[in-house]
């Protein structure tokens, strides 16, 4: 007779997620080249956009549809890039996810829960950064934690940590106007990370930088993404940048913004902008993007003759 017969069934080992050591809330051990093990839920995506529509009234009282039934799902720890011609509403989409604006219909879901206004679980890095000029670099990084009500000691420790992460420790007491463009970018990144959001929303953050600085920041962003395991939604108009960084690239159409296609990018990391595989992947996406750009040119310049983007222009896109 089994002694177990009337007892509870033998314990089935429950798969437990391995505990990853956290230092200041950040995954400690992670090396470039090996994808971090993120808790990936099969059912509930980290960020879910379902049927997002946004329309607004123009000055001439017309109703303009800016976003048209956007459906996108982003897994935890995924790096999603959104590309599209200017005016496709990609920045607006980030504002909606951040909860800074309200969509006309549809839902933004974080872990399956509906977003109601801004929250520190998702931090947006604005295109203009929005660093506070009246605060020092350290105080800027500290700001979100201060709003959260963290103790002074804890804030100080984390500020140090995140400034070191973006290599700006020596500039803690500088004001933002004393820094270069690339350094300001890194302050914004540190400020966003310091609130320890699950989702990082980045709105063309490197558009205004020179090529060298941008390459450097691509490397750093990728490294920080590995180290912190955040989910990142990255908006850009630069297709190669999107391929350089993204696990997946979503292409939006020009006005109204719709998801035209999604391209999974399965290239090994770290990728190099000049790599032929990157160029090949870019060509495919660019082909589709060009149609949208031509449509946008037709509308914006209101020309009868169909304008087209010449082959040489590709490099700048």
């Amino acid at each position: 007779m089994s002694t177990n017969a009337h007892n509870f069934p033998a314990r089935v080992p429950i798969p437990v997620e391995p505990l990853t050591p956290f230092v200041a809330g950040v995954r400690k051990k992670a090396a470039l080249g090996s994808r971090p093990m993120h808790k990936i839920s099969l059912e509930v995506p980290k960020v879910g956009l379902s049927d997002i529509c946004l329309s607004y009234r123009t000055q001439s009282e017309e109703r303009l549809l800016a976003l048209d039934h956007i459906n996108l799902q982003v897994k935890a720890g995924e790096f999603l890039c959104i590309v599209g011609p200017s005016g496709c509403g990609k920045s607006t989409l980030l504002h909606l996810i951040a909860g800074l604006h309200q969509q006309t219909s549809g839902e933004v879901l974080i872990d399956g829960k509906r977003v109601q206004g801004p929250g520190t679980d998702r931090i947006l890095i604005f295109q203009e950064l929005g660093l506070f000029p009246w605060l020092t670099v350290g105080q800027n990084v500290e700001f979100g934690m201060k709003m959260k009500g963290l103790s002074k000691a804890e804030r100080e420790e984390k500020t140090q940590y995140y400034l070191r992460l973006v290599h700006l420790s020596q500039f803690k007491d500088s004001y933002t106007h004393q820094l270069s463009g690339g350094m300001r970018q890194r302050v914004a990144l540190a400020r966003a990370l310091a609130t320890e959001p699950d989702v990082l929303l980045m709105d063309e953050p490197f558009a205004a930088l020179d090529a060298q600085t941008r390459d450097l920041l691509h490397d750093e962003l990728e490294r920080i993404w590995f180290e912190t395991g955040r989910t990142i939604i990255f908006v850009t108009h630069n297709v190669r940048e999107a391929i350089r960084l993204g696990d997946r690239v979503a292409l939006l159409t020009f006005r109204p913004g719709r998801v035209k296609r999604e391209f999974p990018i399965d290239l090994p990391r770290p990728r190099v902008l000049e790599d032929t595989h990157v160029a090949l992947a870019a060509r495919e996406i660019l082909g589709e993007l060009r149609e949208e750009i031509n449509r946008s040119l037709e509308v914006e310049y209101n020309v009868g003759v169909k304008p087209h983007v010449e082959a040489g222009v590709e490099e700048q896109i």
Partner: protein, 253 residues
């Protein structure tokens, strides 16, 4: 240096002209005092402490009154700037009220507060409140929207957002309004003090008139100008400089 030299020449000339006119004795000295008569009055006034007391009393009043209007003005200004309805309704009212000289509130203040310090404070507040309010409203509108959004994005809301983001972000845009508010507060105070036995500079000024002591009148006028100028030129200038420096609006030389 050249500028300093020009200033010295200008004021020396002015002083010489004053001395000449006084020496010509076109008018009797109780109507047109000499420079040394005025400096004598200043010396006596400070020596018997009456000017010190008057300055202390007046400064205390203007600081209290000004502080009240800054706080109220910021709340009002922000309110008006953040609501389209308030802007359309209150905004117009505030602008039209600004054309009313603050001393016109004096009769009202007397009835409401009696012949007291509070009546004077009321006039001071009414004098400077509107310029602070309008400045705040304007500053809130000029302030780049990104700061408010960034603040909300980082988890600030309500009072926190106001105190840590909106207020510091709009400071460079409201400093000139705060300065104007100060000037109005100072003028309103002196005017109100002249109408009521109150120990302040305004009263000392009127006392000079009552005693037919024109030297004392001019001496107090000089004091009023000097205090107004010092606060404006030293306090607000350095505040402006500091802000511009911090924001990187001027080079850090």
């Amino acid at each position: 240096m050249k500028r300093a030299a020009r200033l010295i020449v200008f004021y020396a000339g002015l002083l010489a002209l004053w001395t000449l006119l006084a020496e010509l004795k076109i008018w009797p000295p109780y109507l047109f005092p000499t420079p040394w008569g005025v400096s004598g009055a200043l010396y006596d006034g400070f020596k018997d402490h009456s000017y010190w007391i008057a300055i202390a009393v007046s400064m205390r009043r203007v600081l209290i009154g000004y502080a009240i209007s800054v706080v109220l003005g910021m709340i009002l200004g922000l309110g008006v700037a953040s609501s389209k309805f308030l802007e359309e309704t209150m905004g117009g009212l505030l602008v039209s009220l600004q054309s009313l000289p603050s001393i016109c509130w004096w009769p009202l203040a007397l009835l409401w507060f009696g012949l007291s310090q509070n009546a004077i404070l009321f006039v001071v507040v009414m004098g400077s409140l509107l310029s602070v309010t309008l400045a705040m409203e304007d500053g809130r509108k000029q302030m780049p929207k990104i700061f408010g959004m960034a603040g909300r994005n980082l988890g600030a809301s309500g009072l926190q957002l106001f105190w840590y983001v909106l207020l510091p972000a709009s400071l460079p845009f409201i400093v000139s309004g705060l300065k104007q508010g100060w000037a109005f507060a100072w003028r309103s105070l002196i005017t109100a003090e002249m109408l009521y036995l109150s120990l302040g500079l305004g009263q000392v000024l009127m006392m000079g008139r009552d005693l037919n002591d024109m030297s004392a009148v001019i001496a107090v006028m000089l004091l009023i100008i000097a205090i107004g100028y010092v606060v404006d030129g030293v306090v607000f200038k350095s505040m402006e400089r500091h802000l511009q420096h911090k924001w990187g609006l001027i080079s850090s030389t």
